[in-house]
């Protein structure tokens, strides 16, 4: 039985259709594996080879991956929430109520989005602390650290713009206070304030602006910078190798531990 399945799989993988999609072809050689990574638009951002040690929990605590995971959860739940939400003053709050009381699993959806958002902010900070304290920002990774800082800002802005969308008292006053802080910037403060809210106070225009920022501009920016961030991991020499421990005499050379990862 298992032999039969393997045979069918083999046939599928050798078919013309499969080959036209996955160009690397069948095989378990290092070349094949490297090609599989390199020739996929999504995977080619990553290194074709990774040290096995880097994949253990202790080396990164998976903080970057977990951040990416929450980001994907946020995209999926966010898109689903967009199906029920109108960014208009009379409707926004009523839509929250509908999600809470009428939409099947609507409350779950909202809570999942909210808690994932909280988790993402936490994870981003944790990731940055880890990188900082391990010195992973040092050359040649300085630029990737800068991109990471940009991603931190985008994450915080996403969190902030999403806060207004429920259009309840908490949201309204939080954004009123938050936007007034921007108004305190010398010289251009009031202009920034006006630009941010599309007016002088939190109203329909502010809601629409925050909605567009939250659902379109900021997520796209985040995706772009995430892509660059990952690309730079590969270009800057793969995941950072922790070298603070002194090499023990007679220890196995690290290069021997390299293992292909698909």
């Amino acid at each position: 039985m298992p032999g039969k399945i393997d045979k069918i799989l083999e046939q599928v993988e050798q078919s013309r259709v499969w080959r036209s999609i996955f160009r690397s072809g069948r095989g378990t050689s290092t070349l094949h594996n490297a090609l599989a990574i390199q020739q996929s638009v999504f995977l080619h951002l990553f290194s074709t080879k990774v040290r096995k040690r880097m994949l253990s929990f202790s080396s990164t605590w998976y903080l970057g991956t977990l951040t990416l995971g929450t980001f994907f959860i946020l995209i999926v739940t966010g898109v689903l929430l967009m199906l029920y939400y109108h960014p208009s003053v009379p409707q926004a709050y009523a839509d929250m109520k509908d999600l809470q009381f009428v939409v099947s699993s609507g409350l779950f959806l909202r809570n999942l989005h909210r808690w994932s958002a909280q988790a993402m902010v936490f994870l981003v900070f944790a990731h940055m602390f880890k990188v900082f304290y391990r010195g992973a920002y040092r050359a040649p990774r300085e630029f990737n650290w800068v991109i990471g800082v940009v991603l931190l800002l985008i994450t915080l802005l996403l969190s902030y713009t999403g806060y207004l969308l429920p259009w309840d008292q908490l949201a309204y006053w939080a954004i009123t206070v938050g936007s007034n802080i921007s108004a305190a910037v010398p010289l251009v403060g009031s202009k920034i304030h006006f630009l941010l809210l599309g007016g002088n106070q939190v109203d329909a225009n502010a809601l629409l602006r925050f909605y567009v920022l939250h659902c379109l501009i900021l997520p796209l920016a985040a995706l772009l910078f995430v892509a660059v961030h990952f690309w730079r991991i590969r270009k800057d020499g793969g995941l950072y190798v922790h070298q603070s421990e002194p090499k023990k005499a007679g220890a196995v050379d690290e290069t021997e531990l390299v293992k292909e990862v698909q």
């Binding site: 009379p90 009523a94 109520k97 509908d98 809470q100 009381f101 009428v102 099947s104 699993s105 409350l107 779950f108 959806l109 309840d168 008292q169």
Partner: protein
């Protein structure tokens, strides 16, 4: 300790030791977690109630028809124009089922019959609560900002008041509450802007204190200020709980600021006739219908009389005899705007009535109050108190300006956010409780609270609370087409000599003309089309009652012939109906055959005698006016028009519109015009 550690580590190995197994376990946990949300949906509270409803109706006789009308799932009443999204019917499934009248368990009870269809305006518009919610807690007792918890049923009439600014027959509590707001002078200090844009006006008619020293003594003012209700149980003046010193200083200022009335008021007391009948005063008081407006406490402690004027139980303790005499002589010389008519009593009558009223005193009242001459410091402090307590918001007081917006605006008190209220410890934190407690004992809310204690009973307080709750934010934002404006007084004033005379006689204290005046007596706006001039003249000379079921209350004013003629002529000319053409009126005198036909119709076809009395010997109808002399009272054109459509001439009259044909109306008019007073008939013979 060690074994626990071993247990945990072995469990960990068993579950996550192997990569595949760990993956499987985590997947199962994830699946279960994801199943929680749909499960919560499925076992939601409203599902339970709908199942309960189905179980309940299954036992009933009309189970099949109830089951057919049952709709599963979330039910919703949606009216975006008034902001209603009410899902109450999701659980309250039986609201519209008339056959569930015997069900007492909620949420399955039937809704009581109300004038609107239940889904026309939804539930929360009257009951409050969070309409969008589908859980018991969130729907009824939400603490979210901007969401009111469910309104206790005893204040439910406030819901009606959000659209209906007029008085409805079905909302006695609301109507009374609004009346009290005006009657107890609440709106003298508080601004109450009704949703139709009008500002509520006080009807308590607080007296001017400009000439108070002419009227009463400092001792009386002191005793009154200490406790107004001790002087008159029905007094609407609130109790400010003043200390002796404050009351004394206030009285000192009021007496010192009082200016003697301009003009020479005769202060010589006319002595009552020596051999006067001791009951003459009481009978004159009765004949003049003083009790229509003034109340007196009887021996049993009950108030007898109206509440238009002040209670007179202890008036002898209050007023100075000379003032009372001048007042009875002509009240307008002391207070130009008083509701009291100028009676034109003879000097002897004035003396009799003054003596009678001065005898209405309580020998125990304020006997031990002796205030010396006021010092300048007392007067100055009294003046300060007048300003602080806002006395001038109600009374006209020399030297103190009427304060603007003395107390908080109450126009939206019915939606005041709880976050803006300061509750007393241990108090139920809801808006109705707050309002009712504040009215009950304002001083409990802090020593600086200026609001006085109003003499209201529990039921009256509940009414006032209802009226205040009706002043909600929703009532202000209601679409214009749903708003029923209140009936408001016009500023109509008759002109000329007749107008002056009518002001002097205070006709508008009882009668309403062209939307101005009170509803104690008939509306006179169309009187000129209705009655005959001769009858009106004789009625003014010697009024009598038209309705056997009512006590006559129209007083006799001792008018001169010229004054009567002025009034009669003015009324006959000015108060005409535009829809009655006297030229096209049926004739006043008709052939006997037509009269006889009218009589037949009156007694048989339309059976008017069930309510009216045309022949005092045989008929017993007492609901409508007696018609025995209607031929001398009314004009034929009016009778004809009235028979055709009574409501067109007097909206709301209980006489039914019987769709009487022109012919029948003509015949009955002919018959009614033959019903003349005996005097007239004799004259003709």
């Amino acid at each position: 300790m060690k074994s626990v550690k071993q247990l945990i580590s072995s469990a960990w190995r068993a579950l996550f030791g192997d990569t595949m197994r760990a993956f499987g376990i985590v997947s199962v946990i994830l699946m279960l977690t994801l199943a929680i949300a749909p499960a919560k949906d499925h076992f939601s509270q409203w599902h339970g109630y709908q199942n309960g409803y189905l179980a309940m109706i299954r036992e009933r006789g009309d189970a099949i028809s109830l089951r057919r009308r049952f709709e599963p799932g979330i039910q919703q009443i949606w009216h975006p124009e008034i902001g209603v999204v009410d899902r109450c019917e999701t659980c309250h499934e039986g609201l519209k089922e008339a056959s569930l009248a015997d069900v007492t368990t909620q949420p399955f009870r039937k809704h009581p019959v109300i004038p609107h269809p239940l889904d026309r305006y939804g539930c929360t518009i009257c009951h409050r609560g969070q309409g969008a919610a589908t859980t018991v807690e969130e729907a009824h007792y939400s603490k979210l900002a901007g969401v009111d918890p469910i309104l206790p049923a005893r204040y439910i009439e406030s819901g009606c008041g959000q659209c209906h600014q007029n008085a409805l027959t079905g909302t006695p509590q609301l109507n009374l509450g609004r009346q009290y707001l005006a009657q107890y002078g609440c709106v003298n200090c508080h601004m109450v802007k009704m949703p139709d844009g009008t500002v509520m006006k006080a009807t308590d008619d607080p007296p001017s204190l400009e000439h108070i020293a002419d009227k009463t003594t400092r001792e009386w003012i002191f005793t009154w200020l200490k406790n107004p209700q001790a002087y008159a149980a029905s007094a609407t003046m609130p109790n400010y709980k003043l200390s002796d010193a404050d009351a004394s200083d206030l009285s000192a200022y009021l007496i010192s600021s009082s200016k003697p009335l301009a003009g020479d008021v005769d202060t010589t007391i006319i002595p009552a006739a020596k051999n006067a009948d001791p009951s003459a005063g009481a009978s004159l008081y009765g004949e003049s219908f003083c009790a229509t407006c003034h109340a007196v406490q009887n021996a049993a402690g009950n108030l007898v009389g109206g509440d238009v004027g002040p209670e007179l139980t202890r008036v002898g303790n209050k007023v100075k005899p000379a003032w009372l005499q001048a007042w009875i002589e002509n009240p307008h010389s002391y207070d130009a705007h008083t509701l009291m008519p100028h009676y034109r009593f003879t000097p002897q009558q004035v003396a009799t009535l003054t003596g009678f009223l001065m005898s209405k005193s309580d020998s125990d009242y304020s006997t031990d109050v002796h205030l010396g001459t006021a010092t300048a410091a007392q007067i100055a402090h009294g003046r300060k108190l007048v300003a602080e307590l806002g006395c001038a918001a109600c009374h006209t007081i020399n030297g103190v300006k009427k304060p603007d917006n003395f107390a908080p605006d109450l126009s939206q008190i019915g939606s005041k956010p709880l976050a803006q209220l300061i509750f007393l410890p241990g108090m139920k934190q809801t808006l109705p409780t707050y309002i009712a407690s504040k009215i009950k004992d304002p001083s409990a809310f802090g020593p600086g609270m200026k609001m006085p204690l109003l003499p209201l009973t529990d039921a009256q307080r509940e009414s006032v609370t209802t009226a205040l709750l009706a002043l909600s934010e929703r009532s202000q934002t209601m679409p214009e087409k749903l708003r029923i404006p209140g009936v408001h007084q016009t500023t109509y004033e008759p002109a000329g000599r007749a107008g002056k005379l009518m002001a002097d006689l205070a006709c508008f204290s009882c009668h309403r003309i062209n939307g101005h005046g009170s509803d104690l007596a008939p509306d006179l706006s169309l009187e000129g089309s209705a009655v005959q001039a001769q009858w009106l003249d004789s009625f003014l000379k010697n009024p009598n009652t038209l309705r056997p079921a009512l006590t006559r209350r129209m007083p006799r004013f001792n008018l001169s012939d010229a004054d009567r003629k002025t009034l009669t002529d003015y009324i006959m000319v000015a108060y005409q109906s535009p829809n009655i053409d006297p030229d096209k009126a049926p004739p006043a005198v008709n052939p006997p055959a037509l009269v006889e036909q009218g009589r037949q119709l009156f007694y048989s076809k339309y059976a008017c005698q069930s309510c009216h009395t045309a022949n005092t010997n045989t008929d017993k109808g007492y609901i409508g006016p007696v018609l025995a002399q209607v031929g001398t009272r009314l004009q034929p054109a009016w009778i004809y028009a009235w028979l055709k459509n009574p409501q067109a001439l007097r909206p709301g009259t209980i006489e039914p519109n019987q769709n009487i044909s022109d012919e029948d109306a003509r015949a009955m008019t002919a018959f009614l015009m033959t019903l003349k007073s005996p005097g007239k008939q004799e004259g003709k013979q």
